[in-house]
Amino acid sequence: MGAISDASRNRVSAPLAALTAAAMALPGVHARAADLPGANPLTLYGSHLDYSESGGRMHVRVNEGTATVPVGDRVLLVADALQDLISGASPIFNAPGPNGQPQQVLSGASVNDRRNAGDIGASLFWAENQLTLRQGWSHENDYKSTWTSIEARTFLNQKDTTLAAGFAFNDDGVSTHDTPDDFKTRIKRDFFVGVTQVIDERSLIELSLEYSHSNGYLSDPYKLVFVQSTGLLPDARPGQRRQTAVTGKYLLYVPQIDSALQVIGSLSNDNWGIDAGALEVQLKKELPGQWLINGGGRYYAQSSADFYQPLFQAPPADGLHTSDYRMAGFGSVSWLAGVTKQLTPNFSVQFSAERSYRRYALRWGGAGFSGDNYIWSFYLVTLQAQF
């Protein structure tokens, strides 16, 4: 039901006419039609991300562009394209050092990869519901991926409660530079459910549960393991992985400091034996002149995979073995900070930076070694324009 019934609109009484005329004379009570921006809702985003690891290791640059355009009131179309360039070296395996301790062996400055990816999608809106379908592709010399996702959201209680559920299917092919045409299949299915609840005018909470199931070739074709008795063997992981993760997010506006506090915690577990937890705390504050600053920290820790060892004495009986540093037990501490400036109503620029310290000593449990300790940092520049 509209605010003003047709009956009362048709019959304007003398008092109402007088009050309305006096109200119309007040400055700024009605928008002047000429001041209203035109209905040209195409939105474009562009961003550039730069990621680098200490010690001349990986360097990744990502350029991304996104366009959204509504079609009528019920459909929103989205297209996204990105290109990333990866260069540098990464650990291939660990070899015993002079004192018997493992030492990382990096690839030479060999990796130089370009990835092109994109996706298209549509969101449909009806009543208090939203359905989003997306289809994406990603391509590089030794990795290709096709994915499809569907996500449904429904808004309840005057939009104070949002329920969400989604499914994504990834069909990937993995090869190597040496055998570029020999693609091995990797399939991943992701399911998630989530709820967002506005608690009051100052706080909201979000909870989500995610389950993913992967099968196929899940090893890393570029990684090797050093086995004392036999020498180097290719990385070999189970053909199935099941991961469960739960994430909670709490947002609180603190009027005393005119800032928003954001706390995100997550726990995950998989059948490879990796348990992981993360806690991130950030403070966001708006400053006069359309500035937004944020800063905070993140702690992450994981245990090692059951089939991980920095070095192996003999080949394990089940044939599964990895020395990939990402499968090791480790923890990390990160600092993050950012600043956003709204330059005009249609144009904003954002800069954010993060620096992380990976430490074996902070691991959740399991195996690992301090030779994997390193520092990485990245910065992200986002230009956002809206037309």
Partner: protein, 302 residues
């Protein structure tokens, strides 16, 4: 993709909130800051408590009698006050603020008849001469109070500022005075719950509002309880006594300032308030002091 962003803040002695649908937090924040800054500007400009406010400058002249020239915005508000005075048969009166001396929060008992009589001599829009831009107090000891219109006026302006910043869907809520920027993105109206005048956590009515404004006035917002009787903050400039009759009234109009003055006038009309609202022809809902509910917004009243 539009997201709903909430921007709570305090101003004009009330909890305020902007609810804006925007494409990004930055877009919402840019609009919200512009709107909130204007609300704060008006609060400072028309505060009774600040020596540097326009209200204080006017009242310094009012204390002694004399004339003052005012700026355009203040002149438009005075014109609006003059219209309300005329349309309410003199009940809506920007000069009635001095009666707070008898009924303010500091009062411990009923004022004597002599006190009210003395104060009423200093009340009356017709005791000043308003000829834009010049306001002349013909008697000393008078005061103006823009409190009855500024909050609603600020809500209207805040909504327009958000609309001019590109917001199509959202609302401005200044302590229950609400101006809609536009309905939810799917066209659904905003659901506005009106507080029950006698049950602090109860709802008297739920109004679905897609455009325009809603304002509410009631005897429960600020009142004195003396010997078990409720004396509300809305005081009749005729008798000097707090109004009786209606416990609460909400009015819908295109502009919040019109909705707000209609609620105040209906309260001041006391038992005649519902009839007056009927004549004015704005959708409304009311509850009287015997908790009877009525109005023309029947379908949504529950």
């Amino acid at each position: 993709m539009l997201g709903l962003y909430r921007h709570p803040f305090r101003a004009m002695g009330s909890r305020c909130e902007l609810r804006l649908y925007a494409r990004s937090e930055q877009e919402a924040s840019a609009a919200a800051h512009g709107a909130a800054a204007d609300v704060q500007r008006l609060e400072a400009k028309y505060s009774r408590y600040r020596d540097d406010s326009v209200t204080a400058a006017i009242n310094r002249v009012g204390a002694t009698g004399g004339a003052i020239a005012v700026d355009d915005e203040t002149a438009s508000l005075l014109d609006y006050g003059a219209t309300c005075f005329a349309q309410s048969d003199g009940l809506f009166d920007l000069t009635s603020g001095v009666l707070r001396e008898a009924w303010g929060a500091h009062c411990r008992g009923l004022p004597g008849a002599g006190t009210l009589e003395r104060l009423l001599q200093r009340v009356g829009w017709d005791k000043l001469r308003w000829s834009r831009p010049c306001l002349e107090f013909l008697l000393p000891g008078m005061e103006l109070d823009f409190g009855g219109v500024v909050k609603e006026y600020a809500a209207d302006r805040a909504a327009v500022i958000c609309a001019e910043a590109g917001i199509r869907h959202g609302l401005v809520d200044l302590g229950g005075d609400i101006r809609i920027i536009g309905p939810h993105p799917d066209g659904a109206p905003w659901r506005v719950g009106i507080q029950h005048p006698r049950r602090p956590d109860g709802v008297m009515a739920t109004l679905d509002v897609a455009r325009g404004a809603v304002a509410t006035s009631g005897d429960y917002e600020r009142y004195l309880a003396i010997d078990g009787r409720r004396y509300c903050h809305i005081v009749s400039p005729r008798t000097g006594m707090p109004v009786q009759g209606l416990a609460g009234v909400s009015v819908l109009a295109q502009e919040c300032v019109v909705a707000g003055s209609a609620t105040t006038i209906a309260m001041l009309m006391e038992a005649r308030g519902p009839v007056w609202l009927e004549e004015v022809g704005l959708p409304h809902v009311w509850m009287d002091q015997d908790e009877r509910v009525g109005g023309t917004y029947g379908a949504a009243v529950r």
